[in-house]
Symmetry: C2
Subunit: 635 residues, 2 copies
Amino acid sequence: MAATEYKPLLPVKQPVPSDIEIAQSVEPVHIAKIAEAVGLLPDEYDLYGTHKAKVKLSVRDRLAGAPDGKYVVVAGITPTPLGEGKSTTTIGLCQALGAYLKKKVLTCVRQPSQGPTFGIKGGAAGGGYSQVIPMEEMNLHLTGDIHAITAANNLLAAAIDVRMFHEASQSDEALFNRLCPADKQGKRKFATVMLRRLAKLGINKTDPDELTPEERREFARLDIDPASITWRRVIDTNDRFLRSITVGQGTEEKGATRSTGFDITVSSEIMAVLALATDLADMRERLGRMVVGNDRKGRPVTADDLGVGGALTVLMKDAIMPTLMQTLEQTPVLVHAGPFANIAHGNSSVVADQIGLKLVGPEGYVVTEVGGSHAQTHANPSPPGPSGLTPDCVVLVATVRALKMHGGGPPVVAGTPLHHDYTTENVDLVSKGCCNLARHIENARKYGVPVVVAINRFASDTDAELQAVKEAALAAGASDAVICAHHGFGGAGAVQLGEAVVEACSGTKPEFKFLYDVDLPIKEKIEIIAREMYHAAGVEYKPEAEAQIEKYTRMGFDKLPICMAKTQYSFSHDAALKGAPSGFILPIRDVRASVGAGFLYPLVGNMMTMPGLPTRPCFYDIDLDPVSGKVLGLS
Amino acid sequence: MAATEYKPLLPVKQPVPSDIEIAQSVEPVHIAKIAEAVGLLPDEYDLYGTHKAKVKLSVRDRLAGAPDGKYVVVAGITPTPLGEGKSTTTIGLCQALGAYLKKKVLTCVRQPSQGPTFGIKGGAAGGGYSQVIPMEEMNLHLTGDIHAITAANNLLAAAIDVRMFHEASQSDEALFNRLCPADKQGKRKFATVMLRRLAKLGINKTDPDELTPEERREFARLDIDPASITWRRVIDTNDRFLRSITVGQGTEEKGATRSTGFDITVSSEIMAVLALATDLADMRERLGRMVVGNDRKGRPVTADDLGVGGALTVLMKDAIMPTLMQTLEQTPVLVHAGPFANIAHGNSSVVADQIGLKLVGPEGYVVTEVGGSHAQTHANPSPPGPSGLTPDCVVLVATVRALKMHGGGPPVVAGTPLHHDYTTENVDLVSKGCCNLARHIENARKYGVPVVVAINRFASDTDAELQAVKEAALAAGASDAVICAHHGFGGAGAVQLGEAVVEACSGTKPEFKFLYDVDLPIKEKIEIIAREMYHAAGVEYKPEAEAQIEKYTRMGFDKLPICMAKTQYSFSHDAALKGAPSGFILPIRDVRASVGAGFLYPLVGNMMTMPGLPTRPCFYDIDLDPVSGKVLGLS
């Protein structure tokens, strides 16, 4: 491997040891040193041990007048189920920019879900010599943000069921009296959160005693239609037996049973809110207006109607601060949020990106990863979107392996050995598969942003194969295409990629072209995405989808942007359609709304929102050395 | 209120403001200052922000040779549903010892469950001018220990259901091959955790290929009897609709439905393990041997049989460190664990007590609270128990209000106004009720430990009433009985209590008398507790209890200590039997085992393990000031 003239700063070994072996072989520096280097003042972060710190939003205010750095978005081509190293490339690129090219750089990555850490996938802190460390901290509780989301999501869920339960057994008057109890002086008072419901109902009174009986009823009785409830419980564990459950089967719940289920925590709307909220006040509003279902008159019922928007915000108050960590080569990383790409936009947070752009300054780089299928669509609500941030450059991660699959190679299945087509030279297969890469480049170019292709080299790739990818990328309009080897060499393996990114960002800021006008009707927005991004011939709406579109339009949610919930394994709805398919009819099975987060998500096919565990989950290998306290067997 | 000669150091107001108002009016000092004052070296704790730190167990090792401090246990008489201020007294006593009497002191309290914080009860950081601050940190996520328990408990739950699912659809051979897959060289290997199962089965082989088909079957097929599963899922939310549920109703789960439910997280056996484990290695063993049910041959199935004991330990590795906080008067507090007193022993952790006793040294005091009904029984497995710690003195918290109830006063019901018997003088009622106090004193004396009664004064108590309590306490054998006013005055209101405690601890260490020999049969142990502590005339076992006693005896769990799961509202099984009842027959409905934690818990009546939410939960009042970031409305 002589692609780079830079000597690795890390003592790299071949073959590359396991991720945890590498991660534990490098002693992280005290996070206060990283914080100082990145320009944080001592009172702008809270230590969580010696290797993690929560960064306060006050730093963004302090630097509000300063110019932003360059904003680099890392996306990927349509991947195999094994993953093509998007996170690893994001981290390797930053190690190159920071530790070798001496640029100010900050990496923004998502917090991994704990579910897959113990399930089939392992952790998500990068890999090889391009990792965030300590990787066990990153993959486990981190600073508790996902746990806070679980707590908030489930408090809201409990509030829904118990409210229906209490409403079922109480008269309007009893209900009102319990909600607004008289104090010792016989005086009633509305809780602050209740004023929001009153305002929504158009009741302009602040003294409970002045409400008419009809107003008391309207205020106190949410009258939720159980069949309309879309809010589910969540848990950060891969527990497939919770996908579909019946609750309320205890005798004390008096037959008030209901069919519902649990999703994995990262798929909670509250995770999307965390990723999109710009500050505590904004988060408070978003959490309060989350819609859990509708009443029997068809009006949306929100978290604030249930009186719980403030409590949810209190549970989330620390989670809004991104967590500062470091790479193996001591460059700074902000770990924050991690919306489930299956049903949300799959990016790290707006606040992390904003803080990063201020910290690195105009000569610096913020590198952020986009999740799941959103490399294809860029139709995610952020960024760009409410954050106002638009990229200077897109890095598109490609592998020979995935392109061979798109060229017609045999299926790639996790846990079974790769077909020899993938381990021996087959330039023709690679070239055929480059149609997928080309489509991704075209799509990104539609937004007006330059694209650098990062070819993540695997050991079995040959020079001829790599060269074919490079040529195809340039032919399709990429600014540059670079072979990189950061997995085996750290930042030293991605220096050329770093240089290409610096070059791509050196011009005037590109003018970002939005794909659609957000004020268009729901169906028109869906159809623009289907046509422009997926090359579908048309869109077909199932009756459920039609009904939901009608309902959300009536409720006034039709002006929200669209985030397609679609398989990441194809441009189409059918994961088996590889390459660059076109002419298909895109089926929309249903449409859901994340009103608090601020987007609609049409469901293209069945989206899994709760992973399962295999016969032999990762947890078999995970243990603790009781003497050293070291974590063993994480991958 | 002139009971004390000490002037409060805090700017106390009357009437006493709300807990959160007081808590937020005092600026906590940096926790590093508290750590330094208590004798921790800088590398013996991890900061979690500026007001919390996790204390490493290494400090205990450093001070292993040093003598322990005095160990003071705070218990309470049989309370009213409003609570008699046991936590507040614990904290007030420590503020007195530390800030006024200038003793080295450390408070050990439990981490509050988040469920009640948003439900009916509010937080649990003390109250008035005797509080742990920041109270919002204490009542919310703290340093994530309870969240870690939720994650670990539910990973085990998921592992159980998914294992039964995979076993149902796979042949012995397929199951074995998936559990021990061949690597690229065709070589199989056991994961380390699998060696534990092999040892249990008496299979002394380390090469999977050497197992006979019969051994493979024995190893790979746990053959769990679904009806025997006692492991439930947990959540730290008051969600009554999860008490009884059916899981596995998705089509992908192929009809493998099962009736089960969620408990509140603090009732997880893993919480009890956390409280009782002495170090990481001990925790690893306890977690691994937790029993989740039995196989169809009646043999216990453990977490290690499921391969998950190591992963659970990894999830719990930071939780084993107690969290250092401070009181309103800057005395140090260790917040740790919080087993649900309904079904476990209800104490803070062994490690927190051990660390505290070393840190305060022979002239210092560790004050720890016992939860729930264990003031009555002292039959909890720890302390004393595996920790080897025995108290120098018991502080018994009593109130005029509770004693009036025991004397025959009308029922006290949360949320409804108190009967005027409780707010006007009635010495006769108080005196009658002192039978309850006397019984508690006698019970504690049976252990050979001196008792100091802390009479927690309320505004409406009269001098005559307080005097009656004092006299009754002394007559029943208390070393001293002191009226205190720490709620309204902080440590200044508990100085006399502090002096009484110092006096009670000044003699030679009392020799602790255990109530029973742990090697006795299960029924004998239960009957000793029932007779000696509760004054029951006999014990009646329901058929389920008989069956479980037979089963646990057969499994070899009969040598475990007993922790009675019984209402805290009476010495008997019947919460309505106030005072000092005797002659009743104690019914044992069922018997459960926490084999990992290390105790059996007979269920005396129905024990609630999942609280619900009222019509108007506390969360209505909880919000965040989006400008200052301050939490509003916590109580």
